[in-house]
């Protein structure tokens, strides 16, 4: 009987495909997870990892033809959202799903609290939570506000809660469950990851199986028994972890042999340094020195949680910091007292990635968004010269090829790409000394992407220093003259000239996940 059960895979996936519009996000994947194992799931952005998780959770219906079974029970596909609970599955996503302003107990017992019961017996709920804590040997004060716990503790809490959900179901199905951990680690410190892994091992010891999704090869090698790698929507292989090397993983992810570059590239010293940053030391980010030259387009990238995307905001004074300085045009600014107001006055520009919230106002016109920083120029005898503003906005929209060219339209009426052109124009008409972009082509259609690149290159040709933070290796390869690779808050590699290619950038991101590579 026991043996019989052991043979049935915890998860068996056959020919699962998913098409969005015309593009295939999953091209029919097959793999299985053995009972009692920790199974890694890896792949680059866009490899189909998150699409698969959403199919499994019942959020996306898969294309007809495939099948999934959990402990031998086939899932009815397409599955209703939330139905995974009836199939011994539980998910912990990166955002954990905890409500910070509620107590540990309320979060822990949310499932029974929201159940339609006439009365909540808090004493019984508290005993149940204590029982869970006892089982894993991790104790929290059940009355503490969840938001006051550390990131690590919150992750542990979320995992225990999910494991407890599995337990609730297993009375019917015989003591096994499948816990899916969807990138729980990128924002945890090293010792937090260790504690989380201890908990995962305990979950497995209790008889459950775990799918561990991560970008971090070292973590996957540490915790998993086997790992399946996705590439371009297909399974590129399933590795037995103890038999596989770091390079085997990178090859599976990138899809080609690893070529170690022997010599480190020398940055182009011929151009004048325009902006220098010194001494950024933050929790999770350390940039002792960073120089950007005139006319250079400097890329910054890394895996999720590597911290590269914070750098532009710190330089601009958009997020407060306690360290560091920035030198530009012969003047040095203390980053502790940096403010967007000062940055704008010094001709720095920042185009944030969150376009609707931080970058432009959808409910105001193209003209108003475009000319916001340049209003003083239009002050005439009777205040703002609106005719001149109308005329100038039309000219700029013409120059930046905004379609449709009608600056009286609301910004929200434009496509993503055209809105981005307007917002680039907003900063570029001031001829910034330093232009910083965060994910500049997120939500930009492929056709417009090249135009956006053209606009950025023109700015660099006119002498601006450009910093482009992006998670898109292809974009960085197309655009940048130098690319810095971040891992765990540090610059770990630098690519220049011919070294810059989509694959090299992706490879460098995965190759440098170990803490002590510097």
């Amino acid at each position: 009987m026991m043996d019989e059960k052991a043979k049935v895979p915890a998860l068996k996936v056959s020919a699962i495909a998913k098409t969005f519009g015309g593009s295939k996000a999953l091209k029919g994947i097959d793999f299985s997870v053995l009972p009692g194992e920790v199974h890694g799931l890896l792949g680059q952005n866009g490899s189909g990892k998150s699409t698969f998780v959403k199919v499994l959770a019942g959020y996306h219906p898969p294309d007809p033809g495939g099948s999934i079974s959990v402990f031998g029970r086939p899932l009815p596909l397409p599955m209703k959202a939330g139905a995974f609970r009836d199939f011994q599955m539980a998910f912990v996503h990166q955002h954990l799903g905890l409500i910070p302003s509620l107590t540990v107990l309320e979060n822990m017992r949310v499932a029974s609290v929201v159940a339609r019961k006439a009365r909540i017996d808090w004493r019984a709920e508290s005993r149940a939570a204590q029982a869970t804590f006892d089982r894993f040997g991790i104790h929290f004060d059940v009355k503490a506000m969840t938001g006051t716990l550390s990131q690590t503790d919150q992750a542990l809490l979320a995992i225990m809660r999910a494991a407890e959900d599995l337990r609730r179901e297993d009375s019917r199905t015989g003591g096994q469950g499948l816990l899916i951990l969807d990138e729980p680690t990128p924002f945890l410190p090293k010792e937090g990851v260790d504690r989380l892994f201890d908990l995962v091992r305990q979950v497995v010891a209790h008889g459950d199986s775990v799918i561990f999704i991560s970008h971090d090869i070292d973590e996957v090698r540490e915790i998993t028994d086997r790992a399946t790698i996705l590439r371009d929507g297909a399974v590129s292989g399933t590795l037995v972890t103890k038999d596989a090397s770091h390079d085997n993983f990178v090859e599976g992810i990138i899809g080609r042999r690893v070529q170690r570059s022997v010599t480190k590239a020398q940055p182009d010293r011929t151009r004048k340094i325009k902006v220098s940053v010194r001494g950024i030391e933050e929790p999770g980010l350390s940039v002792p020195a960073l120089d950007v030259a005139e006319g250079e387009i400097l890329g910054m990238t890394g895996l999720l949680g590597s911290g590269y995307e914070k750098v532009p905001y710190l330089m601009f004074g958009a997020t407060p910091t306690t360290t560091g300085s920035l030198t530009m045009s012969g003047q040095t600014y203390d980053l502790r007292s940096m403010q967007p107001k000062i940055a704008v006055a010094q001709k720095m520009a920042l185009l944030p990635s969150d376009r609707p919230k931080a970058s432009g106002v959808a409910s105001l016109s193209i003209r108003e968004n475009m000319l916001l920083l340049d209003l003083e120029r239009f002050i005439g005898k009777f205040g703002l010269n609106r005719r001149a503003m109308r005329q100038r906005a039309t000219e700029i929209a013409e120059e930046y090829e905004v379609r449709p060219n009608d600056p009286s339209l609301d910004l929200g009426q434009l496509s993503g790409g055209n809105a981005q052109k307007v917002l680039l124009a907003k900063w570029l008409i001031r001829e910034p000394e330093l232009l910083m972009l965060d994910e500049p082509t997120q939500g930009v259609d492929v056709g417009t992407r090249q135009q956006v690149y053209g606009v950025i290159r023109d700015a660099a040709d006119r002498g601006s220093a450009v910093i482009c933070a992006s998670s898109d290796s292809e974009q960085l390869a197309d655009l940048c003259t130098r690319v810095l690779i971040f891992a765990r808050g540090r610059i770990v590699d630098e690519l220049t000239g011919d070294q810059i290619s989509k694959d090299n950038i992706a490879e460098a991101c995965y190759a440098n996940t170990t803490l002590d590579v510097a």
Partner: protein, 334 residues
């Protein structure tokens, strides 16, 4: 040939859009005129008289200034419920200082206006620096100020305010309409100039629509919000002075009655003249639109409670309409 065709179609499309936006802009004024016409027919001789309208224009002036005061913080994204209480405080200050203590009217008015600035700063401190929601803060200051007014007046009306003020507000007339009305026009004009023709006005708009966008564009969001809250309290104080001048007395209770119509007018005004935006001319038109309706209904002998229901209904209707106007525009970028 083909490009010509598509261009002419484009032009036709644009013309259609223009007509549509023209209707949107002036619909409220048209409806107002219609209502005037209907009441004129139903109440021949009495409704359509110059006296009726000159009284209407003058008596609604405090409410109109209050609506204009609201337009400013609403544009910057903050509510100010304390404008009604501030109106009362200002009127009562003028009354107590001038009529009871014999302080010259000029000084009494200046003290009242200073109270406006102080209340604005208090509101701004708790809203902007302590970061409490503006509704909560201004609801609290409303109650505090109301209490203060009761203490100052012993809850009784103060008569005998200097004739100089009455002359300047109510008795002085141009084209048969009290000066009070022209103060409304001047204030609306100034707000319109600032909103439309100064960089400050544009910044206020961005602060209200996208705080993070404004901040990352180098706008001092906190200072703009403080300025707007002080401006609204200051204008409410002016409304109080006008009210004291119209009555020749200071009434410690009626200020709050102005609050709801002022909010209704500010929101209704956001559906006219510049649809989708709080704007001064829209607010002024709305105040008189609502007042016309109530005056006509009163003349028809409709009981007093209808006034409250009318104003409340207008507020909800106005917010609903402007919600649709804004909701349509607020679709995500990209």
């Amino acid at each position: 040939m083909q490009t010509q065709l598509s261009m002419s179609r484009d032009a036709a499309g644009r013309k259609a859009v223009n007509i549509k936006s023209l209707i949107e802009r002036f619909a409220l004024i048209v409806v107002w005129l219609l209502i005037i016409g209907i009441f004129g027919l139903v109440l021949p001789g009495i409704f359509l008289s110059w006296t009726n309208f000159s009284v209407l224009f003058a008596t609604q002036a405090p409410g109109a200034v209050l609506a204009l005061a609201l337009v400013i913080p609403l544009t910057a994204g903050d509510y100010d419920l304390s404008v009604g209480a501030m109106l009362t405080l200002s009127a009562v200050t003028v009354g107590v200082l001038n009529a009871v203590h014999g302080v010259p009217i000029v000084f009494a008015v200046m003290v009242a206006l200073c109270f406006g600035i102080i209340l604005g700063l208090i509101n701004a401190f708790f809203i902007v620096y302590v970061r409490i929601h503006s509704l909560v803060v201004t609801m609290g200051t409303t109650s505090i100020v109301t209490g203060l007014v009761q203490w100052m007046t012993n809850s009784s009306t103060i008569g005998g305010i200097s004739r100089d003020l009455i002359d300047l507000v109510a008795r002085g007339r141009l084209f048969g309409i009290s000066y009070a009305f022209y103060y409304v026009i001047v204030i609306a004009f100034v707000i319109w100039l600032v909103f439309e023709f100064t960089p400050m006005g544009r910044r206020i708009l961005f602060v209200g629509r996208g705080r993070e966008v404004a901040r990352l564009s180098g706008i001092d969001v906190g200072r703009v919000r403080v300025g707007c809250l002080v401006a609204s309290a200051f204008l409410s104080a002016i409304a109080g002075v006008i009210y004291a001048g119209l009555l020749g007395a200071a009434d410690p209770f009626s200020g709050l009655n102005f609050l709801l119509p002022a909010f209704a007018a500010a929101f209704l005004g956001a559906t006219a003249i510049q649809p989708g935006r709080f704007n001064p001319w829209g607010a002024v038109v709305s105040v008189y639109f609502l007042a016309t309706g109530i005056t006509g209904l009163t003349m028809l002998g409709i009981p007093l409670w209808v006034t409250s229901a009318f104003n409340g209904g207008a507020l909800i209707l106005a917010v609903t309409v402007s919600q649709f106007a804004r909701g349509r525009a607020e679709s995500e970028i990209g």
